[in-house]
């Protein structure tokens, strides 16, 4: 059990779970970043997105913003739980240098996972169907139109 795992255990004991378990500390293997350089992608949707749709996308991005920056600044990987998303549309998975991707995401990336709009939509609907065991803790509550707007917003950046 690592120090952080112990700390989590204490946390849950203290907030009354009272049932902690070293089996729970089985964690994914340490991940130190990878994978390939970022390939800039021309945001094809940027030119066509309407202001209303862009706003809908910004609102949908509320569900993402705590974990993901969109600054394109590599150092942002160190301050948020998830990787930066600027330029993610049509880029290959696992592209943010220095971000600690989970083993399942590294594997999916090495198998050629690419964030085209259709794939990203499936990911948002249920990350586990693309990379079971991913460290992205998310339960989707966005409708199909909102996801489309979100992808439009990300493409516009």
């Amino acid at each position: 059990m690592t120090t952080s795992d112990r700390a989590v255990v204490v946390l849950l004991c203290v907030w009354c779970l009272g049932a902690s378990n070293s089996a729970w500390s089985q964690s994914s293997s340490a991940a130190d970043g990878m994978v390939t350089a970022v390939t800039p992608v021309t945001p094809v949707m940027a030119a066509t997105i309407s202001p209303a749709r862009l706003q809908a996308g910004r609102i949908a991005f509320l569900r993402c913003a705590a974990c993901h920056s969109v600054t394109g600044d590599a150092t942002s990987a160190s301050v948020k739980v998830g990787p930066d998303l600027r330029g993610v549309i049509d880029a290959e998975a696992g592209r943010v240098a220095g971000f600690g991707y989970s083993a399942p995401m590294k594997k999916a990336a090495s198998n050629g996972l690419r964030w085209d709009a259709a794939t990203l939509k499936r990911w948002i609907e249920n990350p586990a169907q693309i990379a079971p065991g991913t460290s992205m803790v998310y339960a989707n509550s966005l409708g199909a139109e909102q996801i489309d707007a979100l992808i439009g917003y990300l493409a516009s950046l």
Binding site: L12, G18, W24, G100
Partner: protein, 475 residues
């Protein structure tokens, strides 16, 4: 969004004065977009995010304290946390909001007194080290779990969670697991003596019969997922309550204190919120971020959908009594017995409040869960302290005269909280977990019990984010 761009909070007594003295006169008297009920993390996060999108928001809080179930005991030596205690690295929203508001987080101190080898077990009136307990003839646990502290055995007995991801906990396909954990234990041949120890400090039900197997698996999966994000658990420098306080200060709109909401009337055009003091507040939407026991005192017109209303009445909440005792003499130095205990007796657990991690806690906490709270609830403070002292002296003879009563916090007796957190008794996840976060007319719901992937603080933050997102789509 930065703190500097935001107006200072007008709260407590100052709120009425500020409003009357024209502080708000510079603000156009446009109607409110959203009334947020409850100034805990859920409500405040919703309010902040709605303001980020330009909506006009007012927060109503029934108590005279910001923070809800984040509660730093500033009046107890060492400032222990009575509520939300440790901020996991995976608590992205909590951490991000603290960062945005300029608050400093620090890794939780690791007290040398909290090492497992120093743990004191007091079972059946006898004191053991963990190593001794593993070999004790009185230890009723199954052979492979005998060496564990009794409160870690239950999650091992139930085996690995069948949930593929934490998002699945509300999925109807797992309803067959939403049964009392006792069903599994009985078929697994776990004896009565072991079952009695298993339920002493189980925090997910007053008794094992009231504990849902699905809720245990949900907790297990939740932990499995959050520890994938590496890093220490943290606390806010100066106390975790500083976070909701900073969130409230960062709001442009009012945070009105001692405004206990008693009625929410929705029409197709807007919502009227009525408070106990007769005040009325109108807005286009409401975020109700009250814990369900507090929501039981709010009349909804039109009535909530049947299942939602039933959930408000029925959902189980955790019972927790904490007795905070200030240390006047470090009694553990006398005999080496650390104030870190698990017991099947009335004290249940003792933790040192060693915020510096130097082995010199300024206070210790007696922590009682579930059904065990009842015997303490009946006592006034003097009788409670007399009993606690006498019980502690049985385990720690050197503790006589070394502890001073500081504070009792009994979350289940606090009418504005009603308990530690939603406990999801058997059948309640299947019946209520989806319904509780579905908007009803112009009223949206937040609070830790409406979190979808987390528990505790991060669930509150997640729910506020979801409620804000729902309203922004409509606004």
């Amino acid at each position: 969004m930065t703190v500097s761009r935001r107006n200072l909070l007008k709260w407590a007594a100052a709120s009425a004065v500020a409003a009357a003295s024209g502080v708000r006169a510079t603000t156009a008297p446009s109607p409110l977009d959203v009334i947020v009920i409850g100034a805990g993390l859920a409500g405040l996060n919703a309010a902040l995010l709605l303001e980020d999108f330009g909506l006009r928001v007012r927060v109503l809080e029934a108590s005279s304290r910001i923070g809800g179930r984040l509660y730093t005991l500033d009046d107890v030596a060492g400032k222990p946390e009575a509520g939300g205690n440790q901020i996991g690295t995976a608590y992205a929203r909590t951490v991000d909001t603290a960062n945005r508001l300029g608050l400093k987080l620090e890794p939780n101190a690791r007290s040398p007194l909290l090492r497992e080898e120093r743990m004191v077990l007091y079972v059946g009136g006898k004191r053991y080290t963990l190593a001794d307990w593993g070999n004790a003839t009185d230890n009723p646990m199954p052979e492979m779990f005998r060496a564990l502290p009794p409160d870690r055995v239950l999650s091992r007995l139930i085996g690995a969670s069948p949930l593929a991801s934490v998002a699945e906990w509300r999925d109807p396909k797992h309803a067959a697991l939403d049964v009392p954990v006792t069903q599994l234990l009985e078929t697994g041949g776990i004896g009565r003596a072991a079952r009695e120890l298993l339920q002493v400090t189980n925090g997910l039900g007053d008794t094992l019969a009231e504990t849902s197997l699905l809720n245990l698996y949900y907790s297990q999966t939740n932990i499995t997922e959050i520890i994938k994000i590496k890093g220490p658990t943290q606390n806010v420098v100066g106390g975790n309550q500083r976070l909701p306080e900073a969130m409230a200060r960062a709001l442009k709109g009012d945070v009105l204190m001692q405004q206990a909401v008693r009625a929410i009337d929705s029409t197709k055009d807007g919502v009227v919120v009525r408070c106990e003091d007769g005040s009325m507040h109108r807005a286009r939407f409401v975020v109700c971020a009250l814990p369900l026991p507090a929501m039981r005192r709010v009349a909804f017109t039109p009535a909530l959908p049947v299942v939602h209303a039933e959930a408000v009445k029925q959902l189980a909440y955790g019972k927790v009594t904490q007795i905070h005792l200030e240390v006047t003499r470090p009694f553990w130095s006398d005999d080496g017995l650390a104030p870190y205990m698990w017991s099947d007796g009335p004290l249940e657990r003792v933790f040192p409040q060693d915020s510096k991690g130097d082995g010199n806690p300024q206070s210790v906490i007696v922590w009682v869960n579930g059904a065990g709270c009842a015997s303490w609830d009946a006592l006034d403070d003097a009788a409670l302290m007399a009993r606690a002292s006498a019980e502690l002296a049985k385990v720690y003879p050197a503790s006589k005269g070394a502890l001073k009563f500081a504070k009792r916090v009994a979350w289940h007796r606090n009418g504005l909280a009603g308990g530690s957190w939603a406990n999801w008794a058997p059948g309640q996840i299947s019946r209520y977990a989806v319904a509780l976060s579905v908007p009803s007319g112009r009223v949206h719901f937040a609070g830790e019990h409406t979190g979808h992937t987390f528990r505790g603080m991060e669930a509150a933050m997640e729910s506020g984010e979801r409620a804000a997102s729902e309203i922004l789509v409509r606004a």
